[in-house]
């Protein structure tokens, strides 16, 4: 079987419990366990080969651009971990079957557990650094789900979040480290990486890589100063703790260090960082464990301490230290998993984990007590148990280093102190729980757990014993294989004897035992001493600091983005200024060499009008009607300027747009507050004025610089071909309906959409209807002055005639569909003004919406019509048709297109204006409700 089957099986296993949970708890458990069991079989199938030093690999290309392959390897180290993960995993599954109550969603639990198992197994089997990271992060995610399994509990949510945040942050650092390695080596393949130790250690950024990778490892393995998430992760159900926080997840960081050992270790920085971190963690964990009244809290800190021990060993970096580290990984996994399970049983059967309540359980659950005591003894390092062996090796290694120079002796001293604390808290675990008088206020009467709930504990405790007594025969090969992997294919000389003779390490053990006993006996004094320090709840601390950070950010953001439109506009304009000012400063002279037009009186007068009117608009902007009138002055001058400078089409368009805009603004004026308040402070005004003047200056400068410089343009083409290819003499119009007809198509679409949008805005708009003007003067009674009506009526046919005229001549002379459409609209609007909405609504039955649709579809059909002749969209066509009597008539597809423009313009402007007019006649409002 190929290696990928191992993670694949566990992955499939994620879904099994969800599917089988309805068949009952036992069946669900069995079905779930089947898949890791199969996976374990595959591992075992390869056991022999790997133990004989053969590495098994599988590789499949996945994302070449990233250098990420699906790549697995089974070597000694991964074999060891695979056995731990799958083996203990199976035990946890069995254990959880009894641990979880009937009410609990077992399917979800097992699903998460299997997901975690997949992540873990994928991680240890990875033969590609990126893939390794992939599974690494998956372990964080799935552990988040497991820790927060009881998500109705606040501590579970907080604990899970904290664990995720810390390990997630470490994961990101790890990713950075990994990518740096990848960039350095050009590959993430572990085979390449493991063979490039020298290259990495010699790299300029070795220290950066090291720190980043170690950040990943330390956060995951709860090393100082990141250890605090682990105790809070104890909010998880105990099977989770037994699995994640003893054997697997926290060991992922250790695994990473072990994996990268051949590549990163062996330097002074490695030694200093790793060993000091390990030592600190070892001490702090051991010390803290003693003071935890919570059974799981004690175990959590003890785990921290043991992880520190392994880290310290890896940090020492000698070959034998590495072997010791591997050995302790195995031992710790077995005794700690069993201890957690035992704690879970106690919790399950007594309803409490508080050692101040739990007393004298020996009487109630002797079998469990025996198991727990053996495991605790292993944790304390009592001879004949596995913990003793690896601790002896550890002591030996602390003595065998000299990297700290003259103060190297401190390490074994501190190691002994740590071990003493370890003995003390183990003693506390045994004595406080199983002896020490009678239980206090337990919610339940304790008794032995269900038979099979104890089985996993028995197996693990059995292992502790067997390994402790027959180390070479049981784990010898495995240890050798794993250590060979860690050391990069080399295995030092070592012996797994139970008895090495009375040597220094053994003396250290004795001191630790005695010291531990002394510490335990004086525990009350120690508790009192510890009580002087404020209780530090890291979870709360973490939460508060995140909250404080958030509050600070909120204040900052609220200051920066205070929700003000003016602020945003200011930034936009400021950036516009910055973007233009710098390039313009590189411009040597503003004026170019192009000959300029001489000035005459009219131009001067016009310019005066324009400037005065626009400045007056600024000054009088709070007098709304006046501002509006000033605006029309500006508009008029702009139109005249267009006319003057040879743009008749523009002049016409500007004029007609102008009128419609005025009407629209007048309507708005009526519904807006009559008085404008001065919303600006003087300093704001000065700031805005400066900005505006600068922007105006920049735009003016560009205008002048452009106009006075000659340039080459593509326009000659249009002038040359407007008639011959486009069939019209009005070049601008030919551009609009033909050369660049697509722009026009977009433009009328914009107009149509605007009308739809405005229609939406108007619907259900509730506005005040004023009964008097600004000065409190009531409106005149004469709604529709009769003379005004009569003349407006007379003007209508004339205006329509003009609009037909403007429409028809557009292709050859100034005019066209857009202007014609606006003239038509204005003519109709004039009727609305003169006659009122109601009068007209009864007489005009046009659906303006349909008009827009028709206009757009005509334009569209003109465009796609050319498809029939295999021509692209909007390919124009024109011809001269001779009709008797009438003469030659030009027919052009552009004309149809222009008709579309015309109809859209009429439809859109009328849809807007007529509906707006209808607002105050709301009784007759035919607009459907827009909520």
């Amino acid at each position: 079987m190929n290696l990928y089957w191992i993670p694949l099986l566990t992955f499939i296993g994620c879904f099994i419990p969800l599917a089988t949970v309805k068949w009952g708890r036992s069946l669900c458990t069995a079905a779930t366990a089947l898949f890791p069991a199969l996976a374990l079989l595959i591992v075992l199938q390869n056991l022999g080969a790997v133990l004989h030093g053969e590495d098994i690999r599988f590789s499949q290309s996945w994302i070449p651009a990233l250098g990420l392959d699906i790549s697995f390897r089974l070597d000694g180290l991964s074999l060891l971990f695979a056995l731990l993960i799958l083996g203990i995993g199976l035990l946890v599954i069995l254990y959880a079957r009894y641990y979880l109550s009937e009410k609990e969603q077992m399917g979800r639990f097992y699903g998460y557990l299997m997901l975690f198992m997949t992540a873990m197994i994928g991680f240890v089997l990875s033969n590609n650094l990126l893939q390794m990271w992939f599974f690494w992060e998956l372990t964080s995610i799935s552990s988040f789900l497991l820790i927060s399994y009881w998500h109705h509990r606040s501590d579970a949510r907080k604990g899970a979040r904290m664990a995720l945040t810390i390990t997630g942050a470490g994961g990101l650092a790890l990713l950075a480290g990994i990518v740096l390695i990848g960039q350095l080596l050009g590959s993430y393949d572990l085979d390449v990486v493991l063979n490039s130790g020298d290259a990495i250690r010699d790299a300029d950024n070795y220290l950066v890589i090291l720190v980043l990778v170690l950040l990943g490892a330390f956060t995951k393995s709860a090393q100082f100063p990141f250890y605090f998430w682990l105790p809070h992760a104890m909010a998880a159900p105990t099977p989770v703790s037994a699995y994640l926080h003893s054997a697997t997840m926290v060991k992922a960081g250790i695994f990473l260090m072990a994996r990268m050992f051949p590549v990163l270790a062996g330097t002074e920085s490695w030694f200093l960082i790793v060993s000091i971190t390990g030592l600190l963690t070892l001490l702090i964990g051991a010390y803290m464990a003693l003071f935890k009244h919570d059974l799981k809290g004690l175990l959590a800190y003890s785990t921290v301490s043991h992880l520190g021990l392994i880290t310290l060993l890896l940090g020492i970096g000698t070959d034998l230290a590495a072997v010791a580290a591997v050995f302790h990984i195995i031992n710790h996994a077995t005794f700690k998993a069993s201890l957690f399970m035992a704690a879970g049983i106690i919790d399950h059967e007594t309803g409490s984990r508080d050692m101040r309540q739990l007393n004298g359980l020996w009487k109630y659950m002797p079998q469990t007590a025996t198991l727990a005591m053996v495991a605790a003894a292993a944790m304390a390092g009592v001879p004949l148990l596995n913990g003793f062996l690896s601790k002896e090796m550890f002591f030996a290694e602390t003595l065998d280093q000299s990297t700290l120079g003259s103060i190297s002796w401190m390490i074994p001293v501190f190691a002994t102190i740590g071990a003493a604390f370890s003995v003390a808290y183990s003693l506390r675990f045994i004595h406080d729980v199983f002896f020490n008088g009678e239980p206090v206020d337990l919610p339940k009467t304790p008794h032995e757990p269900p038979r099979y709930m104890r089985v996993p504990v028995e197996i693990l405790v059995g292992l502790c014993l067997v390994v402790g007594i027959f180390p070479e025969q049981t784990v010898g090969h495995l240890l050798a294989a794993a250590s060979t992997s860690v050391l990069g294919g080399y295995l030092p000389e070592y012996h797994l004897y139970i008895w090495h003779g009375l040597n220094l390490p053994f003396i250290m053990s004795i001191i630790a035992m005695a010291g531990g006993a002394v510490l335990y006996l004086n525990r009350q004094r120690l508790f009192r001493f510890q009580a002087h320090f404020p209780e530090r709840n890291e979870s709360q601390l973490f939460d508060t600091s995140v909250k404080k950070l958030r509050d600070f950010i909120r204040v900052f953001l609220a200051w920066f983005d205070n929700g003000s439109t003016q602020r945003s506009v200011f930034w936009l304009l400021f950036l516009a200024l910055a973007f233009t000012l710098f390039p313009l400063m590189q411009l040597n002279t503003t004026a170019g060499h192009r000959p300029q037009i001489p000035v005459d009186t009219v131009m001067l007068a016009g310019a005066t009008l324009l400037c005065v009117a626009s400045i007056a608009t600024v000054i009088w902007h709070h007098l709304r009607l006046l501002a509006l009138l000033l605006l029309s002055v500006v508009g008029m001058i702009v139109s005249i300027a267009f006319a003057l400078f040879s743009a008749p089409d523009l002049a016409l368009t500007q004029l007609s747009v102008e009128v419609v805009t005025i009407v629209l603004l007048l309507l708005a004026l009526y519904f807006l507050p009559q008085r404008i308040r001065n919303y600006s402070s003087p300093s704001r005004i000065v700031r805005d004025l400066s900005l505006s003047v600068l922007i105006g200056g920049v735009v003016g400068t560009i205008t002048y610089a452009l106009m006075t410089r000659p340039f080459d343009t593509i326009s000659g083409f249009f002038t040359e071909n407007a008639k011959t290819l486009g069939g019209g003499t009005n070049i601008v119009n030919v551009i609009l309906v033909d050369f660049r007809g697509f722009d026009t198509f977009g433009e009328i679409t914009v107009l149509g959409i605007a009308a739809l949008g405005i229609y939406k805005l108007i619907a259900r708009m509730r506005l005040f209807q004023l009964h008097a003007d600004t000065n409190g003067l009531p409106w005149t009674e004469d709604k529709h002055p009769i003379m005004f009506q009569i003349i407006s009526q007379a003007l209508l046919p004339l205006a329509l005639m003009v609009s037909v005229y403007i429409f028809l001549r557009g292709h050859n002379l100034p005019g066209g569909g857009f202007i014609a459409g606006l003239i038509t609209s204005v003519a109709i609007i004039q009727q609305y003004i003169a006659r009122g909405y109601v009068w007209l609504q009864d007489r005009i039955r046009i659906n303006y919406l349909t008009l827009i649709g028709t206009g757009l579809s005509i334009a569209f059909l003109t465009g796609v019509g050319s498809f029939i002749w295999q021509q692209p969209f909007l390919k124009s066509w024109h011809d001269y048709v001779h009709i008797p009597l009438i003469g030659e008539i030009e027919l052009a597809s552009a004309m149809a297109f222009d008709l579309g423009v015309y109809l859209t313009v009429v439809g859109a402007s009328m849809l807007i204006l007529a509906n707006l007019g209808g607002l105050t006649s709301s009784e007759r409002l035919r607009v459907e409700d827009d909520q």
Binding site: I63, S148, T165, L172, A173, L584, G757, R764, P872, E928
Partner: protein, 507 residues
């Protein structure tokens, strides 16, 4: 002529037009079906075009006028990739909207269609003024869609959004005037050919114009300090609209790619890469601002909006970093972030509806009726958008990290990318735990998502695992697409040169 090229513009256009006319105008059911059919058709057409342009870039001459005189569509891998993305996104958003939003105001479907038309037009056009026109199409449609459903918040957000964009459009025109007045052409490839030939004394003017384009595109893409509209708008818009808006920032980004990669890219002589020194700090500022906003966000919608900001910053970075070599990674990230953000907007809406008074704010609330499925959706989306394995975000992020090789760039890019991921992780874990797990009372509301809504979210989310699974072929495609910025320009320049020969022959 290959009409498939223009189909992504014409399909939504005619659909929208038909919806204004009887018999569809008044019949929402018909409109709904037409919209679905049309989007499926659009997706099919875009996909077909995508396959085509992967073989051969397509140039479509509107009205048959040769470039640079007429308007031209340019369908290359880059543009069609985005068009296809739009089609898929729009289909999902429309599907979602058909459950509720179609009835909360008029013209939902036609406006939706017009919006898509505008977006597709902006992606496909090869003419800078035509780009302006399509920008306006998509903007006006977005204004109208933004107010869809009514309410104070929408009105408030709209005025802000519109004021900024109208100013943006004004500067767009100034920029175009400046470019035309100096270079004398509007075709983007032709601009690219002529910009290096500019006389020294006009270069400065053209540069000012070009940077104004950066302002405009920056505004659309929500680049700092032009991002103010984004959170407000996204928080106020109706869910399917917000989802569709997720592609809008990408239009701005795409335009930046085209203009500052194509016209003012490496081959622009003295004006080469003029935007780069500006984009660098602004992109990082955007990212930082986005991640701060994510931490501070009080609701899922705002959180998502800030994630969009982060993605904008990231994408801008991908454009400038590593001398422009990381764009392929950026394009992958673009697809991923757009779809996931859209899904999150839709999801936030469902959460909002089902949590009653608490809406999508991170406060204690009653349980949701469909907490299970929504939770699963949320979990998926969060993992994807934070950039964690096993979903697409991590691929994009890793590609981007890997893309930076210059050590001075690396400091900035890596720290901003990684820290933003961490902030996103913190924000989303907090958001998720408080939305789904911080409950009071056991009685859930009665509101349930309609099937169409769930399917829409699921479809969008499905993209993420697919993008991961097929990351190999996808990244190889985006690598080719990233090269198109340069290659398509050269291609069009050849077309122009050929047509000029033709023109001279006839005269």
């Amino acid at each position: 002529m290959n009409h498939l090229t223009i189909a992504p513009i014409l399909i939504p256009s005619i659909t929208a037009i038909l919806m204004l006319l009887p018999p569809l105008a008044e019949r929402i059911v018909l409109q709904r079906w037409l919209a679905w059919v049309s989007f499926v058709l659009l997706l099919a057409a875009s996909t077909a075009l995508l396959l085509q342009v992967d073989q051969q870039t397509q140039v479509y001459l509107l009205g048959g006028w040769q470039p640079p005189f007429g308007i031209m569509l340019l369908a290359d891998r880059l543009s069609v990739m985005l068009v296809t993305l739009t089609a898929f996104l729009a289909l999902c958003a429309c599907l979602y909207g058909s459950a509720h939003e179609e009835t909360t105001g008029r013209f939902f479907y036609p406006l939706f269609m017009f919006q898509v038309m505008g977006i597709n037009g902006a992606f496909l056009t090869g003419d800078i003024f035509n780009l302006f026109v399509f920008f306006e199409v998509l903007l006006i449609a977005s204004y109208a869609l933004l107010v869809h459903g009514g309410g104070k918040e929408k009105t408030k957000a709209s005025f802000h959004y519109i004021t900024l964009n109208l100013l943006g459009s004004a500067f767009f025109l100034i920029a175009l005037g400046t470019l035309y007045g100096t270079v004398g052409t509007l075709n983007m490839a032709d601009l690219s050919a002529k910009v290096p030939l500019l006389a020294a004394e006009t270069q400065a003017i053209a540069k000012a114009g070009a940077l104004l384009l950066l302002l405009v595109f920056g505004l659309k893409s929500a680049m700092m300090p032009l991002q103010f509209w984004l959170t407000r708008t996204y928080a106020a818009a109706a869910a399917p609209v917000a989802a569709l808006f997720a592609i809008m920032t990408k239009v701005g980004l795409y335009s930046i790619y085209r203009v500052f990669g194509g016209i003012f890219g490496d081959s622009a002589g003295d004006l080469a890469n003029i935007a780069t020194p500006w984009i660098w700090p602004l992109a990082i500022a955007t990212l930082v601002f986005g991640m701060l906003g994510a931490i501070a966000a009080p609701s899922l919608r705002l959180l998502t909006a800030n994630m969009v900001l982060i993605s904008v910053g990231t994408l801008l970075l991908s454009f400038v970093m590593n001398g422009g070599q990381s764009l392929a990674a950026g394009l992958y990230y673009l697809m991923h972030s757009t779809l996931v953000a859209a899904a999150l907007f839709l999801l936030a809406d469902q959460i909002h509806v089902q949590r009653g008074h608490a809406q999508d704010r991170f406060v204690v609330s009653r349980p949701m009726k469909q907490a299970g499925i929504l939770g699963a959706f949320y979990f998926t989306a969060a993992i994807a958008i934070i950039g964690l394995p096993p979903l697409s975000g991590f691929v994009g992020k890793a590609l981007l990290l890997q893309g930076v090789t210059d050590s001075s760039e690396r400091i900035w890019v890596w720290s901003s990318l990684l820290i933003s991921s961490l902030f996103a992780l913190i924000a989303f874990s907090r958001a998720g735990t408080s939305l789904f797990w911080h409950l009071s009372g056991s009685k859930s509301g009665t509101e349930v998502a309609k099937l169409a809504q769930l399917v829409a979210i699921a479809l969008l989310l499905l993209a993420s695992p697919l993008l991961t699974l097929f990351a190999g072929p996808v990244t190889s495609f985006t690598e080719r697409a990233a090269q198109d910025i340069r290659q398509s320009t050269v291609l069009v320049q050849q077309v122009i040169a050929e047509s000029e020969e033709l023109t001279y022959d006839t005269h």
